[in-house]
């Protein structure tokens, strides 16, 4: 029993970080129907950004996260401003964004491989090997701090969306784009800000990932598959869904890894993806026929 609980604890720790990784992805889909295949590539970029700061000036990755947030926000806003307006108004907008971001993912991967080579990297702050003990359970310090960082950012995102004027505009755009335009929401501006926020979340998640997992430029393909499966489970565009989906799948995959073999744990994500598309395609918190 205590082993079971220990595995659940580790699963929750992992799930919290997955939730942050997925939050930007689901936000972009919810606000503007952008399927950002490059999201995980930008997470890896965030990891390399943090790694670069760590290697060059010895900046702690948690502080690196605070630097990554504004830098990636501006990067995202500019990227949207430059690349996306020509897709707006296309009747196949979402499909177009898949192609565009697929290309962006390759470009990001290629550039990272050029500048950092393809070998495994990881930041190694002092707490990376520490652990806290609570009775018979142990919590790795790195994962604990990563979970805390994720929670702070997710709460901040939630508060931003629910309690600010721009946040109201974002929620309105998510629920009904035309209605948002009619009441005076500048959906172009909302889209630019949302893309910036989504990118900032990717950068921040990358900073946390930099000391949790070894990473290399092509790592993002594996992550984007996991992230897409958990936001499909939660319901595309739903922040709550992303969190619930992330926690559920992370815990289940940890259990599967413990009680069968680690080989089977990635299967959980793909299995869940197939199952949810068969049984409840709109996901746990998604709306039917919203695409």
């Amino acid at each position: 029993m205590s082993q079971f609980l220990q595995v659940v604890i580790l699963g929750v720790l992992l799930g919290g970080v997955y939730a942050l990784m997925a939050s930007g992805l689901t936000l972009l889909f919810g606000v503007m129907r952008v399927v950002n295949i490059a999201h995980a590539a930008f997470i890896v970029l965030g990891a390399f950004f943090t790694f670069f700061l760590w290697e060059s000036i010895g900046l702690d990755p948690l502080l690196g996260m605070l630097v990554a947030l504004p830098v990636f926000f501006v990067f995202g806003a500019l990227l949207y401003r430059i690349l996306f307006p020509r897709l707006e108004g296309s009747p196949r907008f979402s499909e177009m964004t898949v192609l565009l971001t697929f290309g962006l993912a390759f470009m990001a991967e290629g550039l990272m491989a050029y500048f950092f080579t393809g070998i495994f990297r990881q930041t190694a702050p002092s707490y990376q090997v520490d652990a806290f003990r609570f009775g018979s359970f142990f919590v790795p310090a790195a994962q604990f701090y990563a979970l805390l960082g994720s929670m702070v950012l997710l709460v901040a995102l939630w508060a931003f969306i629910n309690f600010t004027h721009t946040g109201y505009g974002i929620r309105a755009t998510m629920q009904n784009r035309t209605a948002a335009q009619i009441v005076g929401v500048d959906v172009r501006r909302v889209s630019i800000i949302s893309f910036g926020v989504g990118m900032a979340l990717a950068g921040a998640a990358g900073a946390l990932v930099s000391f949790l997992f070894p990473f290399f430029p092509a790592r993002h393909w594996q992550w984007i598959a996991i992230l897409l499966s958990l936001i499909v489970l939660g319901g595309l565009g739903s922040l709550k869904g992303a969190v619930v989906g992330a926690l559920t799948l992370a815990v289940v995959s940890s259990l599967v890894s413990q009680y069968t073999s680690p080989v089977w744990s990635p299967m959980v994500f793909y299995g869940a993806l197939f199952l949810i598309l068969l049984v409840r395609p709109q996901g746990l918190f998604g709306k039917q026929g919203r695409i």
């Binding site: 004027h165 035309t178 335009q181 009619i182 005076g184």
Partner: protein, 247 residues
């Protein structure tokens, strides 16, 4: 100079054909205008062009002395033109109250918002009773009232309403029409209405425009336009032609 002037509007969607070929018309301040015409005449498209949701391919829109063509919807709204589309376009997962607050998105003065909220709730007692209910749980008629009420939250100079009676029971529709009539009669608002139910639409209007095949055919006072022989040609004549073509 008229309050709202359209000159030679040509518009369509995407790479599709022109829906509006050449529309010019003048809307006078303080009056209620009804656009009528057969299906596919381009009535709703015209309102979308004025509201900035659809950029025209050609033509000029002058409002209150300045050109508003090419402006984005939020800029058109801040100029004073509000649009109530036929699908009601509410925020389904917000309460009635939140929907109304969203209506005043461009207004930053909280005191003013609260004041308008009070006035709107007075006008629509049903909304006051259901202020904490999610918009998606309202009935069709109630949703219509909410979308009208939400538009009033910005206190527009010109209110454009697309097919207010669509999908409503006759009794509910006449309540909605009564509200629209009061906008003009009591609040002195300028109203531009599109309505399939021609008789009801004209009954509350001062002036009428007749649209067909993407351009304005003629116009006249709302109370006498149905007597115009050209109306019969438009509705019945085309119908008869079609009957002949499709044996």
């Amino acid at each position: 100079m008229a309050f709202l002037e359209l000159h030679g509007i040509r518009a369509g969607y995407g790479i599709g054909p022109d829906i509006l070929t050449d529309v010019s018309l003048d809307v006078e301040a303080g009056r209620t205008h009804c656009i009528i015409g057969p299906n596919g005449a381009g009535k709703s498209t015209l309102l979308r062009v004025i509201s900035g949701l659809l950029a025209p391919r050609d033509g000029e829109v002058m409002f209150d002395g300045q050109s508003i063509v090419g402006r984005r919807p939020n800029q058109v709204l801040s100029a004073g033109i509000c649009f109530v589309p036929q699908d009601r376009s509410l925020f389904p997962e917000m309460t009635v109250r939140q929907n109304l607050i969203m209506g005043a998105y461009l207004e930053r003065d909280r005191g003013l918002i609260a004041e308008r909220m009070g006035r709107v709730m007075e006008m629509f007692p049903m909304l006051a009773a259901r202020s904490q209910q999610m918009a998606q749980t309202l009935s069709g008629g109630e949703q219509h009232q909410l979308s009208l009420a939400r538009a009033l939250m910005i206190e527009p100079k010109l209110m454009m309403i697309d097919e207010p009676s669509l999908g409503l029971a006759p009794k509910v529709a006449s309540q909605i029409f009564d509200v629209i009539r009061r906008l003009g009669a009591e609040l002195g608002m300028t109203v531009l209405l599109v309505e399939q139910n021609v008789r009801m639409g004209l009954a509350i209007s001062d002036w009428s425009f007749v649209l067909d095949l993407g351009s304005k055919r003629f116009e006249g006072p709302a109370e006498s336009i149905l007597d115009d022989p050209r109306i019969r040609d438009l509705y019945l004549g085309r119908l008869a032609e079609r009957k002949i073509q499709e044996p």
